[in-house]
């Protein structure tokens, strides 16, 4: 279970107060809200990239509020993928495993497993510069999934994709959620994505989060 209790985030003039959110295990949570309401800020706070001034963030039984991003075990797929420009696709995927000193053969096995799941076996030796939007999203997903995170945060992963690719990645996200059994927090504007993917849907209203049904 992921629990966000009474969290406050302040940055310049922007301010979020009394943010509460509880995600049950193995859920695919959708967080919706208008542009500029603080969805990305909240995800960055969950990942440890933005400090919170009050409240707590629990992953399972662990309070990670003051943990550094590298100690949280949260996978993060930002908007427009943000791949490492100087690494090949296979190096990007195994990055988190190299950091964790996983033996080479196990790393290769995990990369192959994810390449098959995400359909990127044919681009493993390529650099990100020549990849299409859909391929980049698949690589970013594989990179975030490699270390089996407790929570996978997806920041508008389908926003910049054409209709066909969007539908392919939507199917892929369903498969990834099923096979990897990972908790997902997916940010979007799109009610269609919420209906297709979400097992639980939240809406941000006046910088507060409320559970909703579509």
């Amino acid at each position: 279970m992921i629990r966000i209790d009474d969290v406050a985030i302040r940055q310049g003039d922007f301010q979020m107060d009394q943010v509460n959110l509880t995600l049950p295990d193995e859920c695919y949570a959708i967080l919706m809200g208008p542009t500029g309401c603080g969805k990305t800020t909240l995800v960055e706070a969950i990942c440890g990239l933005r400090p919170v001034s009050r409240g707590s963030i629990h992953l399972g039984n662990t309070d990670v509020t003051r943990h550094a991003p590298f100690d949280r075990n949260v996978g993060y797929v930002p908007q427009d993928s943000v791949l490492f420009p100087t690494m090949r696709v296979d190096q990007q995927i195994e990055f988190a495993l190299v950091v964790r000193k996983m033996p080479r053969n196990e790393r290769r096995q995990r990369v192959a497993e994810l390449a098959e799941l995400l359909g990127i076996g044919n681009i493993l030796q390529r650099f990100p510069q020549g990849l299409s939007g859909g391929e980049r999203q698949r690589v970013a997903l594989a990179r975030a999934l490699a270390f089996r995170p407790r929570l996978l945060c997806l920041d508008e992963p389908l926003a910049a994709l054409d209709a066909t690719t969007k539908s392919q990645i939507t199917d892929l996200l369903k498969r990834v959620h099923r096979q990897e059994k990972v908790n997902v927090l997916h940010i979007t504007h799109s009610p269609t994505e919420a209906v297709e993917l979400g097992t639980i849907v939240f809406q941000m209203v006046d910088r507060r989060i409320v559970q909703t049904t579509l």
């Binding site: 590298f70 075990n73 993060y76 930002p78 791949l83 420009p85 100087t86 990055f95 950091v99 270390f147």
Partner: protein, 308 residues
């Protein structure tokens, strides 16, 4: 007639385009012509036999070798300082201060003030007249701290088998230190600009993947900054080669001891040997061009700048 699109007259478009590129390149072209002219008149003033005679002179060979060694050392030290400093300045900019200290207005203001002060201090060697840098270094090494550093340097060089180098002031280390003091400021500015142009989001993603700051810097940020580091190195090297004022004051111009190419030009000119000064200048230009082209080709893997 009323619904017909208004066509652009293509001959006007072509003419405007030609005018645009000509006027835009005009001023740059004039500057290019000035540089070429300067080199050409130097070559016309001194004959090839003058250059050959100079290159047979052991004092000139000594100053070429000493220039190459000291410039390379100063550039290495500069880049060694510039890479981490440039990274810190770029990443601890206004946004980062806002992100981490946004909730504490007092600390936020203090951090921004400190950041601006550090920026200004690091730019001092760029704006100071070179002679002032030399005089300040000389004064520094008159203090007790400076004298201890002088003694420590002498002991170090004796220990590694160079007893001839007796400290820093008026010795070869003074040349390197004088060159480094100015060149590092330029290298830091280049590296700061380089890191500022590199998106920091991949580094944030790397943190969420479990990497610590050192690994993120080494594996994600630094490989992207490689072309900028080469630019900073070559700039530091070139600045060091052209450095004269601080060397004159802090290292002196002792023949076969602390004489580098820029001081050779000065010494020849000072003693009324204009032809010798021009020949030394031509050697200086040739060495600079050869080394800078070789560095770019070697480090970036091609004239276009490798990965760029």
């Amino acid at each position: 007639m009323a619904n017909e699109p208004v066509e652009l007259r293509s001959s006007i478009g072509r003419r405007t385009s030609w005018l645009f590129w000509t006027s835009m390149s005009g001023l740059g072209g004039l500057y290019l012509a000035l540089i070429v002219l300067l080199v050409v008149v130097d070559f016309q003033y001194a004959s090839l036999s003058d250059i050959r005679t100079s290159l047979a002179d052991e004092r000139v060979i000594f100053s070429i070798c000493l220039s190459l060694i000291t410039c390379t050392l100063a550039a290495i030290f500069s880049i060694w300082v510039a890479v981490p400093t440039g990274y810190v300045l770029a990443r601890l900019g206004r946004d980062a201060i806002e992100r981490h200290l946004g909730q504490k207005p007092g600390l936020n203001r203090l951090a921004r003030f400190l950041r601006q002060s550090v920026d200004t201090i690091l730019d001092i060697p760029i704006v100071l007249p070179p002679l002032v840098v030399g005089i300040s270094l000389l004064v520094l090494f008159q203090t007790s701290v400076g004298r201890s550093m002088d003694q420590a340097t002498q002991s170090f060089f004796s220990w590694i088998g160079f007893p001839g180098i007796r400290g820093i002031t008026y010795e070869i280390p003074a040349i390197v230190l004088a060159q480094f003091t100015v060149a590092a400021a330029f290298a830091i500015r280049t590296m700061r600009n380089t890191f500022e142009q590199i998106d920091d989001r991949p580094e944030l993603v790397a943190l969420t993947l479990g990497a610590r700051r050192f690994r993120v810097f080494h594996r994600v940020a630094l490989p992207q900054a490689w072309p900028g580091a080469v630019a900073a190195f070559t700039l530091a090297w070139a600045r060091s080669l052209g450095e004269f004022g601080p060397i004159l004051i802090f290292a002196g111009t002792a023949r076969m001891k602390t004489e580098v190419l820029s001081t050779t030009v000065y010494l020849n000119f000072q003693f009324g040997n204009l032809r010798g000064a021009v020949v030394a200048s031509l050697i200086l230009i040739s060495v600079a061009v050869i080394v800078l082209i070789a560095t770019r080709l070697l480090l970036l893997g091609g004239p276009t700048g490798g990965r760029r």
